[in-house]
């Protein structure tokens, strides 16, 4: 599908970035089982959100969009991830400061306020965050906003106020077409995010980063789900090693297979 350079389809793209424990960190429970260890642990942009930002930047570079805004919710430390987003190429950032747990419904309500204020033509975010694995926020935002959702996107084409989105679903691939503005949540294979270069990190320091609060936006934290306990998963026991195919087949038959 061709893009009409010059005739921009989307004035502004809003990308939601969540700060999470880095993908490569080995997750450990705190000794008192009150949560997972995050002190002194490397934090990063949720990898799915990074893919969302990359897609937004490519749309801007192709002339489909004019501006890329990154937004986040969380403690002041989230500025680091938003700065990384600015270094990747976003134009400006908004942090909605909140020190307590942010449930997906709370996040969706905050993003709704930001969407009403910023009027983006497209909201992009990861399909799930790799910490709570909820896979909810994009769908909830779309519902509250009364706009279309296209989840688990592996291809995104925009033309004349419409997004055509290829979605990764259990049965294969599904293509839907949605009117803009819309919420699109990104899957792994949409793109490969760029690396940040040192000069861009320097430049990012000068880009605008606005700080708001939940209360300032008129959002109260959503009631509802309360986490009452944490525990380690039941580990599977390491089994037996066999030395050749005959022994493997004997074991399988012994377990009741292929008899």
């Amino acid at each position: 599908m061709q893009c009409h350079t010059g005739a921009r389809n989307v004035q502004k793209i809003m990308v939601c970035l969540k700060r999470v424990v880095d993908y490569n960190v080995r997750i450990r429970l705190k000794p008192d089982n009150s949560g997972v260890v995050t002190d002194g642990v490397k934090m990063s942009i949720n990898p799915f959100d990074e893919i969302a930002l990359e897609e937004a930047l490519r749309l801007r570079e192709r002339g489909v969009a004019a501006e890329v805004l990154v937004v986040g919710i969380g403690p002041a430390d989230c500025q680091q991830q938003l700065r990384t987003g600015l270094a990747m190429g976003a134009d400006r950032a908004i942090l909605v400061e909140h020190d307590d747990e942010v449930l997906p419904l709370t996040a969706a309500r905050v993003f709704l306020r930001l969407a009403e204020r910023e009027q983006p033509g497209l909201v992009l975010l990861g399909k799930q965050a790799i910490d709570d694995d909820c896979n909810q926020t994009g769908q909830m935002l779309a519902a509250l906003w009364g706009r279309p959702q296209a989840t688990f996107a592996s291809k995104l084409e925009i033309e004349a106020g419409v997004a055509v989105v290829t979605r990764e679903v259990d049965a294969g691939l599904e293509v839907i077409s949605v009117d803009l503005p819309a919420v699109v949540t990104t899957d792994l294979r949409l793109n490969e995010p760029r690396y940040v270069k040192l000069p861009d990190i320097m430049k990012a320091k000068k880009k605008p980063l606005e700080t708001l609060t939940l209360a300032g936006l008129g959002v109260a934290p959503a009631g509802g789900l309360r986490t009452v306990a944490w525990e380690a998963p039941q580990a599977r026991q390491k089994g037996a090693m066999v030395t050749d195919v005959d022994a493997l087949v004997a074991t399988l038959r012994d377990k009741g297979f292929f008899n």
Binding site: L105, A143, A171, I176, G224, V228, P233, A235
Partner: protein, 314 residues
Amino acid sequence: MPKVLIVAEHSGGRLNQSTARCVSCALQIEGNGADVVVLGQDCAAPAAEAATLRGVARVLSVQRPENAAPLAAVLAPQIAALAAGYSHVLGPSTTFGKDLMPRVAALLGAGQVSDLMSVEGPRRFKRPVYAGNAIVTVEVPDSLPVVATVRTASFKPAGAGGAAAVEAATPGAELPGHTRFVEQRGGGGGARPDLQTARLVVSGGRGVGSEANFALLYQFAARIGAAVGASRAAVDAGYVPNDMQVGQTGKIIAPELYMAFGISGAIQHLTGIKDAGLIVAINKDPEAPIFQVADVGLVGDLFTVIPALERALA
């Protein structure tokens, strides 16, 4: 007393097995049975199928042309309207339910329990977080409906033997026209058993090396009647299509036998197979993490092991 509504998943006139698994979950919340809602353009067949599941009290059938494709934006307002009479609304944690249920929850002003893996009480559940590296217990207050996606691998499908009534329902909801279905493209499964319901699964990783080499796995799977899965590495490398991915962001499966060939065993992959009955791993690298969780391990080259297995099982 809890009252549970299950959102059925169906395609091609057949009920998806995930619905029967949701029924088992619902029976642990309310032992007297649950209602099932089936939405479609012409969904008489899957509705009739749902009515035969043991534990289903009533089937609501919502037939209208707008429901031809399972578009979340179209289905959610209808489900939210029906949810008024229920304390719990459950859907499967498949791409269908993951897409749809949070939209329902938000319309109801409720949060969602994602990937519900065990029922600890009518409003108390366990679910995995951090790719299954931790399990949390969550509670939903009485003031809100429980909306949840059910981790299907954690519940056995409800059996047949039910005889529920099927009733037509017409929820009053305004349906948006901003979302249109274009097409569905089938995945790599072909005529093989469905990955999510198969008893036996043969799975390949980066060690398979190429799209062409996957033919070896397809042939072996055909020989033993297995479905074929893959690790994210194999999908990312383009060896197989996305719908074959097993793991945190792919399919969570619980076959009786899972045979992993050339899969190193990243935690994100292991989270997709931890409910498998027997895990067998074949890998050239004796240090591969998959051997830490496999019930049976064999250090060896899959290109010699698979033909030898075929001969031995012939």
